[in-house]
C-alpha cells in the first residue's frame, strides 16, 4: 500500500521537475489528493498546472482579478470544487481541502447558493466544524449574503441544539454590526430577543456552557451601549430574579452562581442607587463560598476574579 502510493508520488514529483503541466498530470494529482488530501505541495502543483493549462486558452488564474464567468470557467469550477469536496469528505478538517475552495472562489464565478448548501451539509454532519463555519463566514463577506440571514441561521442551529457553541459564536460575530446598523431594533429589543433564547437554553441544559458564555457577553454588550442606566438596572434586577429561580431548581449549578455574582457586580458598576445593596453583598459572598465548595478545581480562578473588592 505504502509502495504503490510512493510510486505514484514519485512519478508526479518527476513530472513537476520537468515542468510538466499537462492534463494527464492534473488527473494524477487528483488521484493522489483523493487518497491524501493534506499533501499541500500537491495542491500547489495542481494549481500551477491549472494556471498553465488555462493561460494557454486565455484564462488568467494566477491572480484574483475580474472573476472568470461560468460560461468559460465551468469545467474548472466543477472539477476543482468536486475534488475539494472529495478531500473534505475524506477529512472534514483538511485545511488544504477547504482553502482550495477559497482559491477557486477568488478567481471564478462560483454559485454562492450551492456553496451554502455544501456548508449546511457539513454543519449538519458536524455542527462544530470550524473549517466549515470559517468558510461560511467567508462566503458571507464575499457573496451577497445578508448578515441578518446568518443571524437567523445561528438561531436555527441553537434551537436545534443548545450545546452549539459555534452557533453562539457565529451570533456574536454579527450582532455588533447588525445592532449598529439598526437592523435589530433598539437595545431593549435586542436584549429581550437574545435573552429569551438564552433563558430557554440554560433552563433546559444548565450544565451546558455555551449559552452562559454568550449571556455574559450579551450583558456586557448591552451595558457598554446603554444610555439609560436606570432602565438597565431594572432589567438586570429581573435577570437576577430569573437566575435565582434557576438556582433554586438546580442547586449546584456553578454557572448560575457565577452569573448571580456577575449580575450583582454589573449592577454595582452602574450609577444607580440600589435599595438592597447590603443584602446583595451577602448573597454575593454566599455564592462565592458555594462556588469554591462545589468546584474546588477552579478555586484559584474564583478567588482572584471574584474575590477581590471590585
Amino acid at each position: 500500500k505504502a509502495k504503490t502510493y510512493s510510486a505514484l508520488v514519485g512519478i508526479v514529483q518527476a513530472h513537476r521537475s520537468n515542468k510538466n503541466y499537462s492534463q494527464e498530470t492534473l488527473e494524477l494529482t487528483g488521484q493522489i489528493l483523493k487518497k491524501n488530501p493534506d499533501s499541500y505541495s500537491l495542491w500547489n502543483y495542481r494549481r500551477e498546472i491549472l494556471i498553465s493549462l488555462y493561460s494557454s486558452i486565455g484564462l488568467g488564474l494566477a491572480k484574483p482579478s475580474t472573476k472568470i464567468s461560468r460560461d468559460v470557467g465551468a469545467e474548472v469550477i466543477d472539477m476543482e470544487l468536486s475534488l475539494s469536496a472529495a478531500a473534505i469528505t475524506k477529512n472534514p478538517k483538511s485545511y488544504c481541502g477547504w482553502y482550495h475552495r477559497v482559491w477557486v472562489l477568488e478567481r471564478l464565478d462560483v454559485d454562492i447558493a450551492s456553496e451554502l448548501v455544501l456548508c449546511n451539509k457539513f454543519l449538519t454532519a458536524d455542527q462544530r466544524n470550524f473549517h466549515c463555519w470559517n468558510y461560511r463566514r467567508h462566503l458571507v463577506s464575499v457573496g451577497n449574503i445578508s448578515p441578518k440571514a446568518e443571524f437567523e441561521y445561528s438561531t436555527e442551529k441553537i434551537c436545534e441544539n443548545f450545546s452549539n457553541y459555534s452557533a453562539f459564536h457565529h451570533r456574536s460575530v454579527y450582532i455588533k454590526d447588525l445592532f449598529a446598523n439598526e437592523v435589530l431594533g433598539d437595545l431593549n429589543n435586542v436584549f429581550e430577543e437574545e435573552f429569551s433564547i438564552i433563558e430557554n437554553a440554560v433552563f433546559t441544559e444548565p450544565d451546558d456552557q455555551s449559552a452562559w458564555w454568550y449571556y455574559h457577553f450579551l450583558v456586557k454588550f448591552v451595558r457598554d451601549r446603554c444610555l439609560d442606566e436606570m432602565s438597565l438596572y431594572n432589567t438586570l434586577s429581573h435577570q437576577l430574579e430569573v437566575m435565582q429561580g434557576l438556582l433554586e431548581v438546580e442547586e449546584s449549578s456553578k454557572w448560575a452562581m457565577m452569573t448571580i455574582i456577575f449580575l450583582i457586580d454589573v449592577m454595582e458598576s452602574l450609577n444607580v442607587q440600589g435599595h438592597d445593596r447590603e443584602e446583595k453583598m451577602h448573597q454575593r459572598q454566599r455564592m462565592l463560598d458555594n462556588l469554591c465548595e462545589i468546584d474546588p478545581t477552579h478555586r484559584c480562578s474564583y478567588m482572584y476574579r471574584l474575590g477581590r473588592n471590585n
Binding site: S41, N134, H169, S172, Y214, T297, Y304, R305
Partner: protein, 362 residues
C-alpha cells in the same frame, strides 16, 4: 510527585509512573521508521514530526548529540530548504511553507547547527517578510491562506533569526491583526470572526508574548475560559463541549502560563490525566517492535509522536519533574524545563536570547 498529590487534594492515590526510558525508546524507534503507510502519508509534515521528537527527547533529559543522529538530521533539514525562496518544506521535494520553516529553525537550534543557515539567514527572513499582508496577517506560503498559526510561526522564526525588530516586518500591524481575531469570550481564532480554539489561542498569545504585546489579551476573561477547559477526567479540551485531549495540555497550559494564570487549573488532576495517556501496550512497526511508551490523545488510545511531545511538554510545564522525586521506583532526575512561548527547552531559549513577555503568576 508528593507535591502533586497534596495540591490536588484528590484521592488519586499514587500517580502512574512516568515511563521515561520507554518514551525515549519509542521516540527513537519512530524516528527510524520509514516503511509504514502512516509514515508515508504523513511525509508532508515530517519536519514538524522531527521537531516534536527532538524536543521531547531533550525534555527527557537526553543529550541529543549522543542519542540522535544530529548530523544526518541537520543535513536532511538543509536539503528541504528551497533554493529560490530560502523557506523550508515539510519534507524532501515539498514546497516551502512557514509552518515547516519554523520547525526547521527549531530543529537546527536544538541540534546546535544554526550555523548551517548563516549564508541564507537574511534570505529566510525576507521569505517570511514576503508573506506578511497589508492588514498585518501572514499567509502560510505564496498561495495565500491566512491563519494566526502563521503569525506565530513568522514571529517565532524571526526571533530565532534575530530579525524580529529590524523592521523587516511590520510588528505593530502583525499585533493589530491578532487583536482583530479576539472573540466575545476573550479567546482567539484563525482569522477575524473565527471561533476561539485552544490551538489558535496558543498561537496568538505566543505571538503577542514574542511581540511584547500581551496588553491585547483580557487575561482574566481568557484565563477563565481556558480554565473551564478542564474536564472531569482532569484532562483539558480545546473548546467547550469537546473531549479532553493530551495536546491541549500544552496549548492551554502554555497560554495560561504566559498570562500568569496557571493556578487556575488543577495541576494534579491534569498530571494524572497525562500519565494515564501513556502507552502500555506493545505494537509493531515494520522495522521494530515497540514495547510500550509514547503518549496517546486520551487514555487507552493508540500513541503517536505528536501526543507524546505534547504530553511530555505538558508535564514539563507543570514542573512535574522539578522536585526530583517523581519516580517512586528509582531515579528521578530533574528534567529540563520547556519555555511556554517558544516550545523549546528554556536553556536553549535563554542561550539564543529569544525575547518573550510573560506575566508573573497570580
Amino acid at each position: 510527585m508528593s507535591s502533586f498529590t497534596h495540591e490536588s487534594g484528590s484521592s488519586a492515590g499514587s500517580l502512574p509512573p512516568f515511563l521515561l526510558d520507554k518514551h525515549a525508546a519509542y521516540i527513537k524507534a519512530i524516528s527510524d521508521d520509514t516503511e509504514s503507510f502512516e509514515y508515508t502519508v504523513s511525509q508532508h509534515f515530517r519536519m514538524s514530526g522531527i521537531y516534536w521528537g527532538l524536543t521531547a527527547m531533550s525534555l527527557l533529559g537526553k543529550d541529543l548529540s549522543c542519542e540522535m543522529d544530529v548530523e544526518s538530521i541537520s543535513s536532511w533539514v538543509m536539503q528541504c530548504q528551497d533554493e529560490e525562496s530560502g523557506g523550508f518544506g515539510g519534507s524532501l521535494n515539498h514546497d516551502p511553507h512557514i509552518l515547516y520553516t519554523l520547525s526547521a529553525l527549531q530543529i537546527l537550534a536544538l541540534c546546535d547547527r544554526l550555523n548551517l543557515i548563516d549564508s541564507t539567514r537574511s534570505k529566510i527572513a525576507s521569505y517570511i517578510a514576503s508573506l506578511q499582508q497589508a492588514d498585518g496577517s501572514f499567509t502560510g506560503d505564496c498561495w495565500g491562506e491566512v491563519d494566526t498559526r502563521f503569525s506565530y510561526c513568522a514571529l517565532s522564526s524571526l526571533a530565532i533569526l534575530g530579525e524580529l525588530r529590524t523592521g523587516i516586518i511590520d510588528l505593530d500591524k502583525a499585533v493589530m491583526f491578532i487583536e482583530r481575531c479576539k472573540n466575545f469570550d476573550g479567546g482567539f481564532g484563525a482569522v477575524p470572526g473565527a471561533e476561539s480554539h485552544a490551538g489558535q489561542i496558543f498561537c496568538c498569545v505566543g505571538a503577542l508574548s514574542i511581540a511584547g504585546a500581551l496588553h491585547v489579551v483580557d487575561a482574566d476573561l481568557l484565563g477563565w475560559w481556558l480554565s473551564e477547559r478542564q474536564c472531569d477526567s482532569g484532562g483539558l479540551n480545546g473548546r467547550p463541549e469537546k473531549q479532553a485531549d493530551v495536546c491541549y495540555s500544552w496549548w492551554i497550559l502554555s497560554s495560561l502560563t504566559i498570562i500568569g494564570r496557571m493556578s487556575w487549573i488543577d495541576r494534579g488532576k491534569l498530571a494524572l490525566f497525562i500519565l494515564q495517556c501513556q502507552g502500555v501496550d506493545s505494537f509493531c512497526l515494520p522495522c521494530k517492535d515497540i514495547s510500550g511508551g509514547g503518549i496517546a490523545d486520551r487514555p487507552g488510545n493508540m500513541v503517536d509522536i505528536f501526543h507524546t511531545f505534547f504530553g511530555i511538554s505538558g508535564l514539563s510545564l507543570l514542573d512535574y519533574f522539578a522536585a526530583g522525586d517523581w519516580n517512586s521506583d528509582g531515579e528521578s532526575p530533574v528534567l529540563p524545563l520547556i519555555d511556554p512561548t517558544y516550545a523549546l527547552p528554556k536553556s536553549l531559549v535563554s542561550r539564543l536570547g529569544l525575547p518573550a513577555e510573560v506575566y508573573s503568576q497570580v
